[in-house]
Amino acid sequence: MSLPRKVDPVSTTLLQRIKESLDSLNEKMEVMIEIQKHGSRGTNQSEIPDVLDVMTLLSLPDHLRKTAVTLCKLNHATADQVAEQTKRARAVESGYLNQLVLMGYIKKERRGRKAFFYVEREENQNERKAPWAKS
């Protein structure tokens, strides 16, 4: 029996959903592997301030520091874009980025099928105005 040449739209949507679920599952597994590798220490959000400043960068293990500094430079990036800069595998960077999300240092948002990572630097209007600033 030969396979149909065209896949109907319902099947396409279903396949896409399955792929997205697999991607999501894959990312969760990468995070679990990372946590197992490096221990759960450092992932308790209540113990660690969620500020990715230079002192935090200095305190991170080398592999996570490289990912975090790269994301700081890119501002808003996918695991692919970070991997391109660090010359490490996408799956590795995805694991590190997700670990940084769990540690509360960076944020993650989904846009369609892509996951974007970023450092939250929301501007507080009250602190924008310096006392000497001219209007």
Partner: protein, 258 residues
């Protein structure tokens, strides 16, 4: 794309500001477009050297998110260079501003890092400037570490004082190496008699390079006439044939090729 160069040291008084100013003027005199930023918010000095009393916006305002970087930069090309461009961003020297900057919290420092990192795309990529030179505060302070993280090249300036050498060694091991920065060493105010003898010079250079494990960019002798002017003369503009400028010329070329 252009380069961001941070000039840093463990101790104060090593000559960072003097080197930053003259390196910026030297690149501008080579026809380059250069931005010089005073990141020493605890002890601002560029305003006094360039004799700028007031400005609409300070670098503090840019880091506070009050304005864009273009509003901070003062174009001093006409006074200091005939070939390139020299734009300077000043730190606010008022006591109120210094006090305010020293009381910033970690969240603010994180935002400041983001703003410093965005200088590369905004000034070097979009506008096409050649160099941003960051004159930092000494030691391990937020503003200087932020500058180091943002820079492509870090020049560490050290004197011959043993406390300076030991502190610089520690800083290299515990700071620069962690951020994988291209780093070069400048020994400043070295006794001229050591540098006159070729053997003594190379022995000293090897000894320092071994203990720092960094490439030695230059050993600059102590030029009394340069120190005597108290930074009121920008040698790279006004005394281009001076040996100090010739020495810095080699430094500028080395950085270009890094």
């Amino acid at each position: 794309m252009g380069k961001i160069i941070a000039i840093h040291s463990y101790k104060g008084g090593t000559g960072k500001t003097l080197l930053s100013i003259n390196l910026a003027a030297l690149y501008a005199n080579r026809g380059k477009s250069v931005v010089l930023l005073d990141l020493d918010f605890r002890a601002p000095s560029l305003h006094a050297i360039f004799k700028v009393q007031d400005t609409d916006y300070w670098l503090n305002d840019y880091l506070n998110g009050v304005c864009e970087i273009q509003k901070v930069l003062v174009d001093l090309s006409q006074t200091y260079t005939k070939k390139g461009r020299l734009l300077v961003g000043f730190a606010n020297p008022s006591t109120e501003a210094i006090r305010e900057m020293t009381a910033k919290d970690r969240k603010w420092e994180m935002k400041a890092l983001g703003r410093l990192l965005s200088l590369k795309p905004s000034l070097l990529s979009d506008i096409g400037l050649d160099y941003i030179i960051l004159d930092t505060s000494p030691g391990l302070q937020y503003s200087s570490i932020n500058a180091i993280v943002s820079a492509d090249v870090v020049l560490v300036v050290s004197g011959m004082d043993i406390s300076d050498i030991k502190g610089t060694q520690r800083m290299i091991d515990e700071l620069y190496e962690l951020f994988e920065k291209k780093t070069g060493l400048i020994m400043n105010k070295v006794f001229a008699d050591i540098l006159l003898s070729k053997t003594q010079r190379s022995e000293l250079a090897n000894k320092l390079m071994n203990s720092y494990s960094l490439p030695m960019i230059e050993m600059i002798p102590c030029f009394c006439d340069v120190l005597r002017t108290g930074s009121s003369t920008i040698f790279a503009t006004e005394e281009q044939e001076h040996p100090f400028v010739k020495t810095l010329d080699r430094v500028a070329t080395t950085i270009e090729n890094l």
